[in-house]
Symmetry: D2
Subunit: 480 residues, 4 copies
């Protein structure tokens, strides 16, 4: 995630690090879970002795996470998990404070990206981390691939060969590992031996981990932070509710009231999106494949339609599906002039960018960064946000700090959970949900600053319900 | 659930059965899932040959369920699961139509209640049902107790002795079983042998079943209908959202706009309740023990407080917790004059009725049925709805038919699932969730009447997502 | 307004007057403006010496108004302004308390109705009232007609002749006046001479007054209470928002969530109705003739359609127009089976009841009081609420007490305004809005009980704005 | 209104005029009232022969207004009404198209500003305009002052003397007039003689006009566009609802959900603001001086408090009052760290900027343009948006085009009304509301693009209501 606005408008008489520090300090107030973690755990330094490596967008919010882990005693090295997502002022401030080594800058090449990842995994003594904060699984991938190829090398002296793959990134990974084996053929095996575990932030990363676990190839414990309630519901519903209309407005200044909007998908992201659009005064339709979600839409007064049936009367189209091929060039050919099309789901293939870009009859008119108008042969144009990528990141600033604080506090508790249980065998080579009571603790750490007062169960009530007074308060199957 | 209003206002020149038929016909339009089931499954009579026994409130909505099961070929006997809940006109109409034998009337004694249950379990040939629709688990209990005592009798000739229990209902159950054993010492064992399974409607019933399964005492398969998404979320959120303010208004005619309301508990019932009260213009507070739910409340703009801190300024108090001792007489002593106190959670011990009724200094002033004013020594009064029991049932007519249709369509599909798999060993002596695809089917059957058009996955999308085009569309852990 | 529910369920061991007193006491808590008036003005008895005659629905809420006027010193006589609207227990309680003479009962004949009006206008000494609280203008009408015919009689000895009018009510009025003239040919002229003025409650009454004033025939000052902000907006928006869904639910128990609803008219009543239906989860459409109101509908995310275009897919039709012929029998012929049709606008001719009732091919099926199903030749039925009359009155209990308190506090202040200025010529023979500062005072008197704290202008602010610290705070043209 | 964002991000290979044209074309789609005016009136050129002078922010939206007036035949000259509000690319595009003469650029000095105004008022033949579009009344002021001083000069040869006023702007105005009189002592008198009238956009301008009319000094007819429903309600409620949270988010990226927000004032701007903040998930409080507005707040579930009572627990403070001294430095001294303070009311004196800036103990930390943090001696900071000026303009892009289209279509109709009635004496030297039917027409012209279908009154209905089928549909006192 880049934050061009903030950088563009930074006060001119500050250094990059000073500006980063200012923004970090402002973000701290909006990240109460992390600050409360510092307060609660800081004094006892529970991560003292732990080498923590992070591969996660090097933003202002992540800086607050990094500095929290450091306050808990960790010895840190960090890289970004996306070539564009580093906020240089955030990186500069962290470096200036000496909180963590940082290998990240905005606009890395893929070569540079994997070099950064490797550096972040390598402590000065040549060894690796004890625990990893991963986002998307690239750090985990490099270690697993390294381990696999070291074993192959041991067996038959073979080295990974970039030409065996067409994937640009894998070519680079192979090259790095080949070089590594030639220097130290045990390096990744030692790294694995030391590793206590990883906590993974995203759906994609968790999916990779589960595949490895299923195949029996996972080399160390993994905690799935992604599916914590305080991560998934908060990111998806409340985060998107905040940032969807924010992105649309910053990009187009369009009045949403009175307009017709179609939200493709009524999962958590769709639910947050519909709530935001209705609140702004839009007439909202939903498309769904899942009848349960469709029925939920009706319960909130939202009609479930086929895209085809409304494509020529809707003003704003938003995809939230995680699926592909939702809004195709053929659909856009039938839309009203200046219909707005944006994606807040997952990949840019929810919208048929390929179809738009490959058709020579469709002209692209760039209006401003992240806002393009595609003009069809009949003269009507369609405004596509963020080139089909996540519009809340591309056209606004993504999830607000408070939402990221929920997510990152889960990371802190996951790191503590892995480290505290490093010696007792609680976690094997599998993927674990963060225990419910820690999910609840994340919520708890965010309530104080909002002024909440929680009721406590009496002993009689506790016994009546069969629930301990300190929780966990719900079974794992509870849907919230 | 009694529906005194409807009965009280029934047109005088109709017979009870005619009036019941009129109301059943009206309800059918609001129960599209059941009607769609008739249309889809009716022609093939998949329940032909199945003896279905039901123990579930004999209301108009249940009549639509009964007639659906009959349309699918079932041979039916029915009783109510609550001594007060029968709507006599509904029972009369079912009997008049010859759809099912019915053993139920409004205002049974406990003796009569268990006699009805026994009759419903006993076909003219002396044998029992193939499948059971249970609500609260009383039919299941009678069979399990009968089976247990028959085995004891076989072993040592002992008979159940009412004096061994202080529970009034159990005394009756023991008496019935003792008589039964004396007539036919194998009756319940034969019943169990025949039984394909039970589908259970409620939290309480599921809890009992799980306890039995855990102890290895469950004698036949059980399907947990209660935790289907289309049951739990629809009952709890949308059903209560509908009926909470309905109940308050019918009972008190109070203007909710501008008033301060406190909702104890922000689970699904609490979420529906808060939504209804906010929509009516109230200033709403929540009390919670669970920090995750509390944080969700804030995300919807609702403050989480302690009851003690607001007890003297709130106008309307609603309990939704499933817990006990939520609003005590001491709290009510501090409330504003004519504060309203009601429960839409579970049992009447959410409100300290015992404390109100046992204190001679607190005077009870009955305003109208289900509405009492308790006057404290200082002269202020508190209006308690439905004597602390579920106010949406006591003061209004409970969940609307559409919500019950979701719940009951799950029952129909559960009965089919049990019956269709009776011979293949799919279900053992355990408690099962209804498979996700059936939960989704329930939703599907309710969408047509609302005018929904569902999008279908293309083969490419299906492969991309790893989801079959006909579903199930979500993992079991999905929270909706 | 009749309140059958409350009466039907009244506690059996109370007298009618005791039950009325109980309900009056409960209503007082919800009518803070009236109670605050008693507190502020009661001690000084500003209406001492004033004879106040009221012609306004003799309900529980009106009883609180009556007892407020009495607490301010008035000498009262009261009748109802509708043959069905008296709540007998309310009347009984007022009579038992000796607060006012009351001439009203539920179910008067038209003859009885006008007899009651005449009695209420006639003090034991034969003279009339000093001030009148009128609702619909019948008391005012009787006086004006009496005055007119007395003058005609003086001129030429003629008496009003019932056969000169086809209007049933006017025939009765003429008869009463003819008798009166024969007893005392100056009675109404003396009444007019004494009269300080009238405060009128309704649109219809105000319309009549304005016509008379335009023609120069108005005989005494009139204050238009109907168009106070605290009357019109509160009655129309908030009152209907409360009572529309209340009425629909009590009548049909239908689940509104997921249903399509059409609201004809987006004036204040329409705005309240749409808000209520959207809040209940309906998909709402509006029909409008006025483009400004139509554009307001879009700003709230509501589509403006033609009835014809959606008549076959809407589930609930509500008229709010004050116009006639909105939903015709031809429309109902095209509706879905069991579509619900109700009116919360003005007269029952918003719905084509005549068309339904006069067509022998349309069968009427009475479901319960105030709920009829009209069955069309093709077999589909349409459920009509309250026989096309105001469904919130017919199927629920009308506006809640709090809303009536706003309206009635305006009446109290209007009565005081008339009485206090009886001698200074402030009000001539014209129709006046209640001064803005009194409208504001009505609001003020309702804020205390809600816990509001108003900010006071500082002298500097007061001068800056050119607004006195005690108000009025807005120009007369302000739209709120 | 400046639009730094758009300019900052403008595509680099376009000229300023090309970029302006692109933005104007995009805005046209969002300004359907203006485009519909072109379609309806364009062919007949009703403004042919009319010289139209405009003094109104030279933005993209205004460009669409200008080009509409030109399409109707007007001969145009334009200046801005604020030294900062010109969007240079909009001005460049209008000039490039030759639509109007434009005298405006971003960042004028006051001297330049009044020079521009004078130029815009002066056609090449030395004469003035026939009609004026004014915003704030500066063009009108210059003419009135010129006329007044010309008459004084005639009488006694005196010239306006800048030293007689301390007002910086008036000094300049005097200088200009003094020079003008020396060149042509009849210039402004001739201008007045020619002038058909002015249509005024704002509250301030209308206030000035009414003062002049009251004193008998108004020299030509004026139409008050500001108080049209389609201007005032749309600007204030819907415009602010759109742009308030937009501004807060762009400025601070703060998550509004869960936060406590206080809105000072519950007039139309306050109502829109509260709606936006509640929709975003805030817990909202209101402060009010007017009891009617306060009671309306309660009806929407919003508590009315004193600022003093909540100042230490609120996170976001918004002023909407039009009053001064609402949030003082003393208040800010008691706020939470990083509380946000912004104004969307009127002038920057709603917030005590003077108090902040003049206190040497309070440090100012500039975070980014239009966002400052004021640090108090105890270390806590308060974030002030847009230096206390309108935050929706300063931190976002003000009202969206659709809202401006309503406002500007009123201007077009007002100009037509003045011009069409120039010879018939319909308008004298007074301030007139735009006739209701034109207000309705503005709404009508915006409905087509939204897909609205308006119902037409039948002749029977028209007679029943006493309303012409083509409107106007409401009395002038209707509050909407």
């Amino acid at each position: 995630m880049t934050d061009g606005t903030a950088q563009g408008s930074k006060v001119k008489d500050m250094s990059l690090a000073e500006f980063g520090r200012l923004e970090i300090n402002l973000a701290e107030v909006e990240m109460p879970g992390l600050m409360a973690s510092r307060e609660e755990f800081g004094p006892s330094k529970p991560l003292a002795g732990a080498r923590v490596m992070g591969s996660l967008h090097m933003t202002v919010q992540t800086a607050v996470l990094i500095e929290t882990l450091q306050a808990l005693g960790a010895d840190l090295r960090w890289c970004s998990c996306n070539i564009f997502s580093t906020q240089d002022h955030a990186a500069a401030a962290v470096v200036a404070a000496g909180t963590s080594k940082v290998f990240a800058w905005k606009g890395e090449t893929l070569e540079e990206y994997w070099w950064c990842t490797e550096q972040a995994l390598t402590w000065p003594d040549g060894e690796g981390p004890d625990i990893i904060v991963d986002d998307g699984g690239d750090a985990t991938l490099l270690i697993h691939k390294g381990y696999e190829f070291e074993q192959a090398f041991e067996k038959d002296g073979s080295l990974p060969c970039p030409s065996t793959t067409t994937n640009e990134e894998l070519k680079i990974v192979y090259r790095i590992i080949a070089e590594s084996i030639q220097k130290d053929p045990k390096r990744f095996q030692k790294m694995v031996a030391r590793l206590v575990g990883v906590s993974e932030e995203t759906t994609t990363g968790v999916h990779r981990l589960k595949e490895m676990a299923k195949q029996g190839k996972l080399l160390f414990p993994a905690i799935n932070v992604n599916d914590c309630v305080t991560k998934s519901k908060f990111d998806n519903i409340y985060g998107c509710r905040h940032s969807l209309t924010d992105g649309i407005m910053r990009a187009t200044d369009v009045m949403i009231a009175g307009k017709k909007a179609l939200v493709a998908g009524y999962g958590d992201v769709g639910k947050g999106s519909v709530q935001a659009l209705k609140a702004a005064g839009a007439i909202v339709y939903v498309t769904e494949i899942d009848p349960i979600c469709a029925l939920q839409a009706y319960m909130e007064g939202v009609e479930v339609v086929l895209l085809e049936d409304v494509v020529d009367k809707v003003d704003i189209f938003i995809t939230t599906t995680g699926n592909r091929d939702i809004i195709m060039a053929e659909h856009m050919a039938k839309m009203k002039n200046n219909a707005i099309v944006g994606n807040i789901g997952h990949f840019d293939n929810e919208i048929d960018m390929a179809g738009l870009l490959s058709n020579p009859e469709i002209k692209r008119q760039n209006i401003k960064p992240q806002v393009d108008r595609f003009i069809f042969p009949d003269g009507h144009g369609v405004i596509v946000l963020a080139e089909g990528r996540l519009l809340n990141l591309g056209c606004a600033t993504g999830h607000p700090s408070f939402v990221m604080s929920c997510s990152f506090t889960n990371q802190v508790l996951a790191q503590l959970e892995l480290w505290n249980n490093r010696a007792n065998g609680k976690y094997g080579k599998d993927v674990y949900l963060l225990p419910k009571h820690l999910d609840e603790k994340v919520a708890l750490l965010h309530l104080g600053v909002l002024g909440a007062k929680l009721t406590k169960l009496t002993p009689v009530q506790s016994e009546y319900l069969g629930i301990a007074t300190e929780g966990p308060f719900k079974p794992d199957t509870y849907r919230y």
